[in-house]
């Protein structure tokens, strides 16, 4: 269970597969069966060609740190220490907002373009919501 009291997402019919994937340890993206475009956040059509024939697949979970801030006046549920709010660039192309875990929340530790990998954190006792976070790739 997360020690952080995050504002939790409420899945909708168009995003349910994504949150189901997080619960099952998979980062699920969508791609177009016609033009092979891939995108995030979820929607039931291709934003490049408007095709409704959409395929759900499991992403590699690999990403790079694209940009971030270190919030010093954060959400009360995150405690008193400053924490990074990051945008990561997935290996497949799309960008996601996330937090970087498993490393100090400092400019010295958080280097742009550093390799990251996804990890999923349980948010609720009933195991209904897991959130995708990213941690530095070891080694």
């Amino acid at each position: 269970m997360s020690e952080i009291q995050r504002p939790l997402p409420k899945p909708t019919p168009e995003t349910q597969h994504f949150w189901d994937g997080c619960r099952e340890g998979e980062l699920r993206l969508q791609r177009c069966t016609r033009c092979a475009n891939t995108w995030f956040p979820p929607r039931p059509f291709c934003p490049a060609c408007a095709c409704r024939e959409v395929e759900i697949y499991t992403a590699s979970g690999k990403a790079r740190l694209h940009s971030y801030v270190i919030s010093h006046r954060g959400h009360p549920g995150f405690g008193k220490e400053p924490y990074a709010i990051a945008v990561v660039k997935l290996e497949e192309g799309p960008q996601m907002m996330s937090n970087v875990v498993g490393c100090p929340q400092t400019p010295e530790a958080l280097l742009l373009d550093m390799p990251l990998e996804v990890t999923f954190e349980q948010q609720t006792k009933d195991e209904s919501i897991f959130i995708p976070l990213f941690k530095p790739v070891e080694g």
Partner: protein, 385 residues
């Protein structure tokens, strides 16, 4: 290029412009009350009464409530609401509506009790919205922790540094020092900006906008009618608008705003001017990075050259491209949706009555941003008919 737009440059003019009577801390007025105050001030400025107005536009407030409370019977309404640049877009839409004959005299108002929060709507976000699902869980707490996220990437790709952000804030304070209505007027050095309270690294408090109360209103009519008003007409030369991602994480290029580029390009093309023609520039500065993005995305330079405009003091008092001459959202005022105050400064400069007046200025470009990098609106004004 202006030939491709049916609405010709100088077809429509601003004939009334005013801010709220007080500025900064106004605990004795609600948000709606601020709308009333600046609307009445603008009507006085133009010598009009409510029955003379037949078009109303506003954002952040219900346009029907506003029109009714002000005693206006509109033939045209616009409640375009895409954040702080909504008012630039209202000017654009109003110009088209007047040219189309839908209405003859449009009132655009903005009022916001940003600091005192009297009669203000809340900031509630649905957990099922895109932002509620894909950004809120990561601890974002409003603009200071979202609008700022692309900056580290911008600095890296453009060879700029955090001091360049601080320099924007320091130079704008020089402009604010000349403005009796500015909220923050005391000089601040680059070092002092860098050492101010940390809000969201690399942004210190002095790199973030103020949080204040205020409002502003504009009245527009056809250029033909504008000559009969007591004020010096300020003509709309060209306009642009666009929008991009509502989620900051989904902005396609962290070094450049697509909405800025699309809106700016339309504004230049519809006005038929070049960058060299611009005598006075307003770039909505909710945070210190926005003028840097704006200079590049509006085509004044390449993105990696924007920092030099500040290092070489080209945007500063005495510089060749005076920018944010009221002190900007960083030092003049920022109620939450700053766009109207940038428009007011452009109009003052074109009327020749600004506190930090640019002598001989004939063309002012006013560029707005809204909802982080979500939306953009651009208006080019001139005082030459």
């Amino acid at each position: 290029m202006a030939d491709s737009f049916a609405l010709k440059p100088r077809s429509v003019a601003v004939v009334g412009a005013a801010e709220t009577t007080k500025m900064g801390l106004i605990p004795d007025m609600s948000q709606l009350g601020l709308h009333f105050d600046c609307a009445l001030n603008a009507m006085t400025d133009a010598g009009l009464k409510p029955s003379d107005i037949d078009g109303v536009a506003t954002g952040g407030e219900d346009v029907a409530v506003l029109a009714h409370m002000l005693g206006i019977t509109p033939k045209w309404v616009d409640s375009t609401d895409v954040g702080g640049c909504s008012y630039m877009i209202h000017v654009r839409h109003a110009a088209a509506a007047i040219a189309a004959g839908y209405c003859s005299t449009v009132l655009i108002t903005h009022g916001e009790s940003g600091r005192s929060r009297v009669g203000s709507p809340g900031y509630a976000m649905s957990a099922a919205s895109m932002a509620g699902q894909f950004e809120a869980p990561y601890g974002v707490t409003g603009a200071p922790s979202m609008f700022t996220i692309p900056v580290l990437r911008y600095l890296k790709e453009t060879g700029s540094d955090i001091e360049d952000l601080a320099r924007v804030a320091s130079i704008q304070r020089e402009w604010a020092a000349m403005n009796p209505r500015a909220t923050r007027r005391e000089p601040i050095t680059v070092e002092e900006v860098m050492n101010d309270t940390m809000i969201a690294w690399p942004f210190t408090k002095a790199m973030c906008c103020l949080v204040t109360d205020g409002g502003g209103a504009l009245i527009l009519t056809s250029a033909e009618r504008a000559k009969d008003f007591p004020t010096r007409p300020v003509y709309v030369l060209g306009t642009g608008e666009s929008s991009e991602a509502r989620l900051i994480s989904q902005m396609e290029d962290f070094t450049s705003s697509r909405a800025f580029r699309v809106s700016g390009k339309q504004a230049f093309e519809s006005s038929g001017i070049t960058r060299d023609d611009v005598d006075h520039l307003m770039i909505y500065d909710a945070f210190a990075h926005l003028p840097l993005y704006g200079l590049g995305d509006l085509g004044f330079c390449k993105p990696d050259e924007a920092k030099h405009f500040y290092r070489e003091r080209r945007t500063a008092p005495g510089g060749s491209l005076p920018t944010n001459t009221n002190g900007g959202g960083l030092s003049y005022m920022h109620s939450g949706r700053y766009g109207m105050y940038a428009l007011q400064e452009s109009v003052r400069q074109m009327r020749g009555i600004a506190p930090a007046q640019i002598e001989g200025a004939k063309i002012s470009l006013c560029h707005g941003v809204g909802g982080m990098f979500t939306a953009s609106g651009t208006v080019v004004f001139t005082n030459e008919s």
